[in-house]
Subunit: 439 residues, 2 copies
């Protein structure tokens, strides 16, 4: 499947005009960054990079796309000719997937001709804005849940393909599993699920339903106990499955109160090892509020797939440098009110203190690590950990070099968050965890 028409109309009219004038062949640098973090969050999380590399590989204009564009009068002969041979041949550097970012962090740097780089704007932003928004929410939920596992189950609350990407992003950020089967097939994310209220309602009694489920899925299954009366259902569940029952699920009511009641009842019935999973409109705040309740796992749906109040990451794709008529690369920046950009190709480093805690995000137009500055910021003159570079090669002369297993991104995210100052984990809106310093 070609991804080439996941593109705004104006990318092609710009290309058409620039091909006519010749400016299309000027070398150009576009960067992806966020001016702010939505919801005044403490940190952002890069996600979608792996998906972007897959989509880039399929960014080709075939007969169907070209015929459509010509019939609609969007492109002329010259543009059609250019597009029929289009293959991104430039370089892409980026923050690796799972890495944290802050306002101004150049999380993706795309270099090539104006023609080949401008065309990618829409696709790049769609993928990174969606996946990073979900990741930022997921990461906060994982921190709020502490050592308790989280199950992603929001597929039904978002576009069917966005659901797959959301499950992937949540896994990167530490979710244990997803309900989405396609995320299992396509990305290897562990999937889980047992039964819904419909299954209980299908049977002539709750006991029938529980018996059928346990017979089929075993005693380690999770029985849903809030279709009718929770306490009656818990008693029935233990009668049917015995005290080896894996878990019971509560999906409604006051979850803290219900968890305490169900825990007491399970213990009274001798089912000390039977766990409790709670679901139902949970977000990071609700999860945190349940910390003292006897809950063993959380299922999160709507709030995860909608970014918990911030459904898009506000990332933009801006031209920061291009060749001039004399062939010299020049930094460029727009001066639109409230939406300024900084000219010049960026490099980025995270300054780390001697205690291993991040101090600042250094963004600079110099390719070398500004060691003096990093050391000063890290308060560790002569220290051994002045910082680390954040941009890694993803595409070199059109060849994809940045693929990695999803678990690598998951482990990177764990380390990246662990390195942030403790205030990063506050759920309240506030300052970013570390300042961005433009050097």
């Amino acid at each position: 499947m070609s991804t080439a028409l996941h593109t705004d109309h104006y990318e092609l009219t710009m290309l058409r005009a620039a091909l006519a004038s010749g400016a299309a062949h000027r070398r150009a640098v576009f960067e992806v960054f966020a001016r702010r973090l939505p919801g005044d969050r403490r940190y952002g999380v890069v996600a979608g990079t792996g998906r972007l590399l897959d989509a880039l590989e399929n960014f080709r204009f075939g007969e169907e796309e070209l015929t459509f564009l010509r019939r609609r009068g969007i492109i002329d002969d010259r543009t059609a000719e250019y597009l029929s041979g289009y293959r991104f041949g430039g370089d892409v550097h980026g923050y690796p997937e799972g890495e944290c970012y802050f306002p101004g962090s150049p999380i993706l740097v795309v270099e090539g001709t104006f023609a080949e780089t401008v065309l990618l704007e829409t696709l790049v932003l769609s993928i990174l804005n969606h996946d990073s928004a979900i990741a930022a929410a997921a990461s906060r939920m994982v921190r709020a849940a502490g050592s308790r596992p989280l199950i992603e189950m929001g597929s039904r609350r978002t576009h069917e393909d966005a659901a797959v990407a959301a499950a992937r992003a949540a896994y990167i950020c530490g979710f244990a599993s997803t309900s989405n089967l396609l995320a299992g097939l396509r990305y290897g994310v562990p999937t889980t699920g047992t039964s819904a209220h419909a299954f209980t309602l299908l049977h002539d009694s709750e006991a029938d339903a529980f018996r059928v489920q346990v017979d089929s899925l075993g005693r380690s299954t999770t029985l849903l106990v809030d279709t009718y009366d929770v306490k009656t259902a818990v008693r029935t569940a233990i009668e049917v499955a015995g005290t080896d029952l894996g878990m019971v699920r509560i999906d409604s009511g006051d979850l803290a109160e219900a968890a305490h009641e169900v825990r007491a009842l399970l213990d009274e019935l001798g089912a000390h090892r039977t766990g409790i999973v709670v679901t139902g409109d949970l977000d990071e705040h609700a999860i945190a509020a349940l910390a003292a309740a006897p809950v063993n796992a959380y299922g999160v749906g709507t709030k995860l797939v909608t970014g918990s109040g911030a459904p898009t990451a506000a990332l933009v794709y801006k031209l920061v440098a291009r060749e001039d008529a004399q062939g010299v690369m020049r930094p460029v920046a727009k001066r639109s009110v409230g939406k300024p950009s900084r000219g010049g190709r960026k490099f980025a480093f995270r300054a780390i203190g001697p205690d291993g805690i991040a101090r600042a995000e250094i963004v600079t137009t110099a390719p070398a690590m500004p060691v003096d500055q990093l050391e000063a910021l890290a308060e560790s003159p002569g220290g051994e950990r002045p910082g680390r570079p954040l941009l890694v090669p993803l595409v070199r002369k059109g060849e994809i070099v940045g693929r990695e297993p999803l678990d690598a991104a998951r482990e990177r995210h764990r380390r990246s968050v662990a390195e942030l100052p403790p205030a990063a984990l506050h759920l309240s809106p506030g300052d970013t965890a570390i300042p961005t310093v433009f050097a």
Copy 2:
């Protein structure tokens, strides 16, 4: 492409258990409805039906899907056997696309065996929840814009495939066009676009950029005038393109103030017919606030594709009736705290007054139109328009019968909103435009 794994894991474990017990073959009725409208909106809009019918046609378990499910231990032999021959053979009725709905409206009624109907839950909800959320926001924006056209341009702020569906939903609700090329190819939505700030920055001067654009796209194009200084850019634009220039676009700053200034300047320069399009984080409230400003068109991005604060429609898919052990259909309903459902297969009618204005949404378990009640509600005893049935056949014994051109849904939406009481158009949160009466 199979859509079968756009499905939650638990649909398959329920199927597996129900196949083992035999309950899978009981006849069942599932309904889609909303308990409330997110954001306390006045009305909801059904969207996604056409996409759902396409997805249903491709809901097949092939070798790749079955191998995955077996390897993961999610299904057993019997379930694999069932799935390999799966083809939905039941009936689906639904509110036609573009129709307005209210809390409790049974917008989709799916009938068949439990096995064949339970499997569709996730896919049905993903599509309807996403598309209807976008449609509800789009409809409010169109009302706020009055006779001025709206351009959908939010692709970059949402998942790349969700973007295509969002453009489609916005068009149903009255948006004039989209920036998304794939929505043009796949659904015939008109597409538009001219240039971005990058195009101006690419050139050595703003005048160069404007000249290249006008040479390529003609004088009827839209020039973007806020890359540097707006007033300078407007003067340059008219110098380059003449007073026949189509439009100028403003994407930053105080849009009302800028529109007034730019209008005055265009008039001073003799460009009386050159229009002004404004873009930049517009939602229905911002659009309404610009009613008195000299604006000719609006471009809407982020807020449209994220549902303007309500990114999902809160639609659920609930079992409302099923066969019992004796083969008799029985209504069923869960009693979960705060999440009750109403048992029985529903029918729905909109009561219309003699003035042509909707009075109530009648939801009943009786297949015949409750004429007495409708007439009473419509305050038109003996009147000619007591109401109209809302459910139409979409699938009959597995055969898709509900396909229609997208423009039919667009026209239906226009009529459906026009029929609502004036308070329906208030943008503030409040009561639904008409009450839902369970008869």
